[in-house]
Amino acid sequence: MWQVGSTLVGQMTSSLWPRIEPLLAQVMKPARYIGGELGAREPLHEPGRVAWLLVYPDIYEIGLPNQGLQILYEILNEREDALAERAYAPWTDMESAMRCAGIPLFSLETARPAAEFDVLAFNLSAELTYTNVLNLIDLAGLAVHSNERTGDAPLVLAGGHCAFNPEPLADFIDAFVLGDGEEAVGEISEVLLEGAASAERSRDELLRSLARVDGVYVPALYEARYDGMSLSGVVPRFRDVPERVEKRAIADLGDWPHPKQQLVPLVEVVHDRLNVEVFRGCTRGCRFCQAGMITRPVRERSASQVEEMVRAGLDRTGYGEVALTSLSSADFSGIEHAVSSVINDPQCSGQVSVSLPSLRVDAFTVGIAAEIQKVRRTGLTFAPEGGTWRMRQVMNKLICEEDLYAAVDSAFAQGWRRVKLYFLIGLPTETDEDVLGIAELARRCADIGHRYHRNVTLTASVGGFVPKPHTPFQWFGQDTIDQTARKIGMLRDALRGARGVSLRWHDPEATVAEGIVSRGDRRVGAVVEHVWRAGGTFQEWSEHFDLGLWKAGLEAAGLSLDDTVYRHREEHEVLPWDHLSAGLHKDFLWQDYSEALCERGIEDCRWTPCYDCGVCTGLRVEHVVASVVPPAGGSQGTGQDISVGEVTAARSVHRGTAGTAAGGAGDLVARRSARSGSRARKASGERNMGMVGASASGGGA
């Protein structure tokens, strides 16, 4: 029998804190485990309230800033029928100490054992955290397999971007939520409370009722069928279970001004600043980008709401930095106004900096960056992604060379000395020439820099492409480790002696492990479990990552890298996520893939006619965009002639030499949010080839 608050009956839970505190003297960074953030709640556990433990499967410093988790934390705690606390993965030292002392996973706020909550809800942001998910379920004292959890054991839910291919975790998670969680968490709470007071309800019945909530996928109610070694379908086992689960999408971001009380941690975390989401969704249509595909349509917040959230947030938190977040913040209709209203606010003049993660590449963007970063012009980051115009047409990242060089020129001219460029390798149709185009581009950009400064650093950061579900490239076979390593080697050779250019790359082995999970079917669950049982937690961390464990797991499960990672999928093949929908028609994705192979880009549908990708029509939602015209000076498919993008560098290098400014505070403006894989997340995962030619030039930064 499953009942809300069943652990409340007859046992007023005592806090584990007296047993936890003695462990803290033995571990690194003990403040990870004390909570106490500004904005944290200590909710009262009582009958009639569904107790959620929101869990981020990585360490505190990485997980705390997660906006998705913070939004749901607030929404649940605002409800009368629910409450929420948080937990993060304890680092290995704390985990051993906890296991030795017999202390289970606990909530930060009231140090309550995880098993005493009604729901454990995991945020899935990256595939390589899956082994941590299993570890945390186990540390909570629960059986890791969902079919072995019985009685009133908490329900284990998961959401987040990776939930769009939940199959590798299907054996371990009771239910997944696809898409925006704002509304779904409330509906789930209501289902859990329904009849809780009166009738006895079995766990199976409960799962059946959950499956009736829009956007909720209960894997146990579906059977994965195979034809020999290939998947032939994932089909409902019961008639009242939907054949296809559609994602949730809130219609108006303006209705959800969360987080209203962003958590301010006592210790330093990543993205340690105020974050205000200016819009959700992106229709730039970059074909490799899962985030852009699964979060459609574009839903902007009004400029006045953004300004209010910034003002109230700065007042409340005391932060000296605010990030206006989205998948491409320079596309926000009110961007110039929003930025200048913060910069010119007498209350925060000179002491508050603005950062815009995920900047578009053009001079317009650099202009905004210049306004923001009046003094400390340390570094600027762009993501051209492809080394040649041809390649950028294939991936539909339509930055023409003119715009790219103009942006870099403008950045160096206005005082920046460090420019970082992100690239992907291993995309469809890629030739050696395209790969070497990255080196050529980096070299030219450094040359532009040298016209303005004696020492500059041009960092080219290269990541191997991992094809993601629900994208036009979902059919494409990923590069092997050797192929990726060879391409990186080519780039190293090509950049040997290039003054001011530094090459960094993501570990090709980690890229392949991510590929196993990214498009894996239900059988990959055994691989994840194998890696976890062999001690492979924290696989996002280079010091713990071990491809050997993944290979052994594949072998034990009778699977291969060839089949799960390297193989090109066929057009009509059943994909493991076909029964789940992000709103995108499969034939739209295939059509777009075909366009890619013909090196044809398509424009942004925010400002141009609809391509019928399926999202707006299928979900009955629409773009919410204040501006009816594309932002000024933009390239990337905003009304430009996308048949021409290639120009010589020489034509543009003398443009945009605005004077350098002085005064004010700033930080790295253009930081990149993790979009495709983990490569942007941890510098530790990147190996630095060092400053190529640094000894000759005397160093850069």
Binding site: L24, V264, G318, G320, R376, A665
Partner: protein
């Protein structure tokens, strides 16, 4: 003007680091909208200057902070405005102004007093260890510094050490006044010297000894400390 504040760090928040505490103050002062002075130059920082670093895990009722302000504000008002904005466990005990022309806290403080609870040790065992340590001519410890192993003598920094027995749950306690020069002594190092297991350590005083007199960096009534302790627990 400089406003000097005395504050406590008690309870769970003791597990944060000295740098974390500095950031808590920066944010609280910004929220209080006090006219904090900023350093000039490439990356402006608020003008905050802390005294001795407090080791992570230790409590204190005697931490000090000097804040540079651009305009004159009554010190008590500064404390009143910023106090409620600090995290639970960080409590302002008092505020005032340092003597004009006095050196920084870091330069001025010559010693501090610790109140340390000692685990699994009887008072007589502790007394024995104390007389041995205080009777020693030198107490060399090896420490790695910048890749080199160096030997420090801790004996000159041990001013007074005595055991105190209470009937409360804390049992035996060690009260120690240790100097800051040539180097300070952490509670963990004291425990190592004495061969005892360290319980909760709380700094109770910082001292400035100058021209034959000994005083605290700020004059505050001890009764306020008790209030701060209460607020944290």
């Amino acid at each position: 003007m400089i406003v000097r504040m005395r504050f406590g760090k008690l309870g769970k928040v003791r597990w944060t680091s000295h740098r974390d505490v500095a950031r808590m103050w920066e944010r609280a002062l910004r929220r209080a909208k006090l006219p904090v002075a900023y350093t000039g130059g490439f990356s402006p920082r608020p003008q905050l200057s802390f005294g001795l670093a407090l080791p992570t895990g230790c409590e204190s009722v005697a931490e000090y902070l000097d804040v540079g302000l651009e305009t004159e504000v009554e010190p008590a008002l500064v404390a009143q405005r910023v106090g409620p904005l600090l995290p639970r466990g960080i409590g302002v005990v008092g505020a005032g102004q340092p003597e004009p022309g006095s050196a920084s806290l870091q330069e001025e403080v010559t010693s501090c007093t610790w109140d340390i609870s000692v685990m699994h040790t009887t008072q007589s065992e502790l007394d024995g260890a104390l007389s041995k340590v205080m009777g020693a001519a030198s107490l060399p410890v090896l420490r790695e510094r910048k890749g080199h192993v160096v030997s420090d003598d801790l004996r000159p920094s041990l001013f007074t050490l005595f055991a105190q027995h209470t009937d409360g749950e804390h049992g035996t306690r060690l009260v120690a006044e240790v100097g800051t020069r040539p180097r300070g002594v952490r509670p963990a190092e004291l425990a190592e010297l004495l061969g005892i297991e360290l319980g909760l350590a709380r700094r109770t005083c910082q001292w400035i000894e100058r021209g034959g007199s000994k005083f605290e960096p700020l004059d505050v009534q001890p009764v306020v400390c008790a209030v701060a302790v209460e607020r944290a627990s």
